[in-house]
Symmetry: C2
Subunit: 186 residues, 2 copies
């Protein structure tokens, strides 16, 4: 079975994290691309969204992912930037659809649980686990880039389904998560 | 001086109002197009945004507006739909930029004040004034379509600036607004 190429997008108007990973059926993962698409804070909103769209489109066309995972935005988040973040997420979902690539959203809690085994993990824990999973020498920076990679990994692992999670192929985080799930079922 | 063609967009994921008006230098306005772009509520978000984008793109290409006015979305609005509304507004702004058409946002209060002379006007008052300004036999329906026309008129009138508002050319709403402004300056 071929590996799955996932583009994770951490939407934002000032900084939009993009991360591409190839995830094998045994859940091992390889970094393909990571970066941050930026727009000028003093530009009009339409121009900023066009800059974000151009950056995402370039990643889609260069790396041709099988699926796109976008972080889900909630109204409760930081008031000042949440509308721009939601607009950027809309643009990301639109571009996926227009490239014929399936797109899904995941909540930050889902991502943290998938990557660290703990839904309330902090950014540093997520970055550390992403670096470990992808065997990177350094933590992926900035945080938006790490979040995009975490989203992509989360999507691939969740999509694989629990039945394909052979014990031997699990990462430490996946084992922790599985064990936590078993505990809650008791 | 030629008239200004404005596309007003009342963003939404289920119903997105679109209205095109031609506004003359004397501020008189003519209806060019009004409609509602819809998406299936049970479709995935990316497909819904693609449907909204296709509808907006068609209006842009058929009617070639000089400028696009989009309603500004606030985090405080209805929690259940505000994220979808923000995503749709992001798509609308992106499409304007990608067609090389300037785009601006206006708040609901600005629109109501421009159309009815009163920032807290209800939907019915706005619809009534829009019908009167455009000399329509019926109120534009649904409300999303009327709001899109109101946005377009608001943009054209505000863009024209107060110096071009010759008294004789003012509509009743504009006179009311001007008078209200004068009162607040006393």
């Amino acid at each position: 079975m071929a590996s799955l190429r996932v583009l994770g997008i951490d939407p934002g108007l000032t900084r939009c994290g993009v991360g591409v990973v190839d995830v094998a059926p045994d859940r091992s993962a390889v970094l393909v691309h990571v970066g941050v698409v930026r727009s000028a804070p003093d530009a009009p909103a339409a121009q900023r969204l066009a800059a974000i769209a151009a950056g995402i489109r370039e990643v889609l066309q260069t790396h041709r992912p099988d699926v796109v995972a976008v972080e889900r935005v909630f109204a409760q988040q930081n008031r000042n930037t949440v509308m721009g973040t939601a607009q950027a997420s809309g643009v990301a979902l639109l571009l996926a659809a227009e490239h014929g690539i399936p797109a899904e959203t995941h909540t930050p809690t889902e991502v943290k649980a998938a990557i660290t085994g703990y839904g309330q993990a902090d950014k540093r824990q997520v970055q550390t686990m992403v670096a470990r999973i992808l065997r990177l020498d350094e933590l992926p920076k900035p945080a938006d880039a790490a979040d995009a990679l975490a989203l992509a990994l989360c999507h691939a692992w969740r999509g694989a389904g629990p039945q394909s999670a052979q014990s031997g192929a699990l990462t430490p985080a996946q084992r922790a998560w599985r064990d936590a799930e078993r505990l809650t079922r008791r």
